[in-house]
């Protein structure tokens, strides 16, 4: 699936990276705790989260996550968007809550991210 389909399925707004919506994604990770992203994520995935601040973007950057979906209609502040732009991260925003967003993507064939086992 590519990001454009994610956008359509989640009825999301593209806040950044309209030109990168053809990027293919295979898996999804969802949480509000950035340490969990750093602890468990193994593959290139997208992140669904309700935590909207620059640390979300930094965390994504560290993990080579190239798209973040903010849920519950949250919109990032300018600082967060600026950092996302600098680090080439696509930002989507959906009105759905985290649970519903995950459900939609899962039922359309996207699996959870592979986790670190080392």
């Amino acid at each position: 699936m590519n990001l454009r389909e994610v956008k359509q399925l989640l009825d999301a707004e593209v806040l950044l990276g309209e030109e990168s919506l053809d990027k293919e994604i295979k898996t999804v990770f969802a949480c509000d705790l950035m340490s969990d992203v750093l602890a468990f994520v193994e593959d290139k995935t997208i992140l669904l989260t309700g935590l909207v601040n620059p640390h979300t973007i930094r965390t994504a950057e560290m993990m080579d996550i190239n798209a973040v979906v903010f849920v519950r209609g949250k919109t990032p502040d300018e600082e967060t968007l600026k950092l996302a732009k600098e680090t080439n991260i696509v930002i989507l925003s959906t009105k759905h809550i985290l649970y519903t967003s995950c459900g939609i993507l899962y039922s359309n064939g996207l699996c959870g991210a592979n986790l670190v086992t080392r």
Binding site: M34, S35, L38, A39, R58, M62, D64
Partner: protein, 139 residues
């Protein structure tokens, strides 16, 4: 080949610049042609170390030494130190404030995360003294 050394100062409670050092380290390693899986392990370790210096210490430095076969990370601060290292290493143990938690940190996963990314891990600290974390990751 000579090794390459990078060093960054980290200010206490400087949340606005949090992650900048780790981001620069990541970019430098990419330019040096280090493989992406290794870079990711280094990034997690330096980012958690950077956050710990910002959140818990009086300020410090992160040094990275890149060798042909390994990457060494040295995180040092000027105190106040850790009273019980065994406790601090436990997953879920954290003395972070609710403010820090709201930023998505303070889950008590930082030191365990660093250890998980490391091939060799050591931590030196005691109450009233600096904390030094050294990590080696083989390429």
């Amino acid at each position: 080949m000579n090794n390459i050394q990078l060093s960054y100062n980290i200010e206490r409670r400087d949340f606005s610049r949090a992650g900048e050092a780790s981001s620069n380290i990541k970019k430098a390693l990419r330019q040096l042609g280090v493989n992406s899986a290794t870079i990711r392990r280094v990034a997690v370790a330096t980012y958690e170390a950077e956050m710990n210096i910002i959140i818990h210490s009086e300020g410090g430095t992160i040094g990275v030494t890149v060798d042909v076969d390994k990457i060494r990370i040295d995180a040092k601060d000027t105190g106040p130190g850790i009273e019980n290292i065994e406790m601090a290493m436990k997953e879920g143990y954290s003395t972070a404030t609710s403010e820090v938690r709201e930023l998505g940190f303070g889950a008590g996963m930082g030191l365990p995360n660093m250890k998980r990314c490391a091939d060799e891990f050591s931590i030196e600290s005691s109450k009233g003294n600096p904390t030094k974390v050294s990590i080696i990751i083989y390429q």
